[in-house]
Symmetry: C2
Amino acid sequence: MSSITFIGLGIMGLPMARNLTQAGHDVTGVVRSERGRARATDAGLQVTEDAASAVRDADVVITMLPDTPDVRATVTTIAPALREGSLLIDMSTIDPVATRDIRATALPDSVAMLDAPVSGGEAGAVDGVLSIMVGGADADVERARPLFEAMGKTIVHVGPLGSGQVVKAANQLIVAGNIQMVAEAVVFLRAQGADLESALEVIGGGLAGSTVLQRKRTAFLDGAFAPGFRLALHAKDLGIVQSSAAESGLSLPLTAAVTQLVRALVARGDGDLDHSALLKLAGELNGQDSTSER
Amino acid sequence: MSSITFIGLGIMGLPMARNLTQAGHDVTGVVRSERGRARATDAGLQVTEDAASAVRDADVVITMLPDTPDVRATVTTIAPALREGSLLIDMSTIDPVATRDIRATALPDSVAMLDAPVSGGEAGAVDGVLSIMVGGADADVERARPLFEAMGKTIVHVGPLGSGQVVKAANQLIVAGNIQMVAEAVVFLRAQGADLESALEVIGGGLAGSTVLQRKRTAFLDGAFAPGFRLALHAKDLGIVQSSAAESGLSLPLTAAVTQLVRALVARGDGDLDHSALLKLAGELNGQDSTSER
């Protein structure tokens, strides 16, 4: 069993750390607030305020932080205290270019690193059934596998360091596009007077079927856009796609277009709605009110 | 059991007519060529060259033709010969506006009409498991249901006349977009050096999963673009989306963009490739050769 320091006990991080504890690992959570401390203790974690001292004895340090600058700042802070031979696993969703840069510039060679972003949302984190996309060296992935298995159901090693972030980014661009395509289909079906519910039923059964269409069906039919996965977060993830695509000089026309639409929703103040609210904008562009359906 | 005249015994129409015959219906196929006559006879159909005389005694006339002008010309030709109380079912994929116009201008009031385009391809037609999207009046749909059940597995009444075409069009715009999103993800994954096969595995298991990703997996991995569903046909279907969206004054940004990409492939001479060859163009736009993968 491993001695783990977990940094970033948010909506995702806290249940992930709890699942590690319940699998028998010795987990210390880094928390600053009174309230955070109470929650972490309830989850069975040991707690500390000081990240640098907490990592000193850890075999494995896991970060689950909001964005690229948080990961960079945290790793820079803890790096001098990390034990020789320890393993840093960044499970945040950040820029793959930054991942490789953090490894190269902020981390001593004696510390190994994996990137392992997840999908599956809060429910997946609570139930320990996340999909985990892992980038890094074979031996490090095998070393971390028991920990991943405590947090996730599908654990896939997708390439060298940074590849987890690349695959997560690819995942997020497909999700955004698939939502927007269904949204445009809904706008079209409504304008043409077809029965939306039976239309989506038959469409979902054929080549146009998707997990988006299954899971977001109610949102599309009723215009109920409670998150779920917030547009603000999706905008952040599409920003990662955009910057790493730009770094490679890539032209991705539909990805670029849907990124603009997601940003427009956030700019308009809809960032706290579920990403299925791409339908809200698609509808409004056509004089349709999607939120008052039925 | 119905007496049926079937007009349009192509790749789809012939097996559909055969399934009607095997369900015990009395089916006459309209064929002109020697070769077509032999194939129709082999399929158990009666054959005739003259559509107008064939429809005179038919309870139901089914058309399964390439495009809008074919349906308009055929209906105009046969309309004077159609029996009072007979039912015309157009199973072609055509413009919904044209469907309603043909009903209004070319067909006597004493003849009922349904539009019932299908999805599921040649395999679905042969196996009698097509999805059939039906537009028209309730009573007519119920009258036709036994025939649909001989040809399809999922039969959904999606609204008034023309609605079947509307839903088919919506289906085709989603399919094109979902293919293009996977294509852009593949281009991104390749450029960033992730392992494509394991990446698509983990992506397919999450919210980005789709029937496109399942069924076209080999095409995406190996660049094997044999049809399948030809880009030329998809371009035709997206033209239907575009013209009926324009008729309603709709703005559908991703649909518009993917329509241009499909057209570009056809214009370049790739119209006979499967629609998964959207990856071919997405790759070439980025200096990647998708057809020589592995």
